[in-house]
Symmetry: C3
Subunit: 109 residues, 3 copies
């Protein structure tokens, strides 16, 4: 069994949930936030048999979209963005960021 | 050290917390939601010595209950449930779903 | 790649976020709560190359503080604290609790 942690944009989270349910894939959802843009996103935690990992990643990939978002760098981050001013900059946010972790054991009661 | 991720029903989360504290088990709680029923539940994240993993799972097992919940399948899920209509169906929700993951290292400051 | 799960006090979470961004470290934040004090805290989930794990832990360490908090043990916890009464007790809460977990694979789309 593997643990999939997948971060998707809030706009795609209901589509991801219903596509997982259609494929009989059980999952748990968390409200999360990006550390950079500080806007909300959704993290799915999915315990799944090893042989279905690629299928689940493909379901998430099909159900999510990358989008451009505008952010105004806070004054103290100017040094990061080298922008020297606070005009809004365009940031591309991906459809999904997916980590696969090993699981030692699973119990359900 | 192992990482236990345990999903329990909201109704049992305070009992689980106090039983863990009584056993001197440290834990962190997250508000989460089931991907299928979309209703709220609670996820505990527990870093614990290898030799206490079974004891902690037993504490969670004793403090949680399985219950029946009613759900009305949204129209687009009819194909999943083959119910062809939107009458409420009864779903059995377990007391706990528990994953045990390996930990490489731990730091506390 | 490794997964870092780091629990810090809410008061330090914005400082941790901006120091991670300055170091070009991507992260996801979750609102969480301590199981013992039941007060809110923040959990960072960070997927990072193996050779940057120590650097990221140091960033979190520098940006977080340990503090004393008062708690009034609820009546049913008296047996834990052996205090026999409900006077507030002082609890030292650390700056950070950090777990490092192995990652099998990573995808971004
Ligand atoms: N220091 C920096 N300088 C310039 N641009 C930066 C940057 N840090 C992030 N970005 C850009 O901002 C987008 C949103 O990042 P955020 O942290 O809000 O939201 C992130 C975060 O919540 C999560 N994420 C991405 N990589 C992660 C990782 N290695 N560990 C944990 N969470 C990650 O996925 C969300 C989307 O990430 P994605 O890479 O598609 O999209 C990122 C990336 O394109
Ligand atoms: N492998 C896994 N990975 C990550 N999280 C997991 C998981 N297995 C279970 N969970 C989490 O535990 C909750 C309870 O699951 P349980 O299997 O006891 O109880 C489930 C199950 O009896 C039933 N169920 C779930 N998916 C179904 C489906 N596609 N068809 C029919 N019944 C389903 O609905 C109940 C509630 O499911 P819900 O998603 O709302 O809530 C789930 C979910 O948050
Ligand atoms: N092994 C682990 N697995 C998962 N999460 C972990 C963990 N160790 C610590 N944490 C998380 O980090 C927070 C701070 O823990 P710390 O040990 O610095 O500071 C702790 C500790 O000094 C004290 N404490 C915890 N449990 C205790 C107990 N049974 N008896 C006496 N003091 C306790 O209360 C402070 C706050 O604890 P709280 O639970 O509210 O909040 C905890 C919890 O959310």
């Amino acid at each position: 069994m593997k643990m999939i942690m997948a971060i998707v944009q809030d706009k795609d989270s209901n589509k991801v949930s219903s596509q997982l349910a259609k494929a009989q894939v059980q999952a748990t959802r968390f409200n999360s936030a990006g550390s950079f843009l500080r806007s909300g996103n959704t993290t799915f935690m999915i315990g799944i048999e090893d042989e279905r990992v690629e299928e689940v990643i493909e379901i998430i990939h099909q159900a999510s979209r990358s989008r451009k978002q505008f952010m105004t760098p806070p004054l103290n981050m100017d040094s990061i963005m080298d922008s020297g001013s606070s005009f809004p900059i365009e940031v591309e946010v991906g459809g999904g960021t997916v980590f696969v972790l090993p699981i030692d054991s699973f119990r359900h009661f």
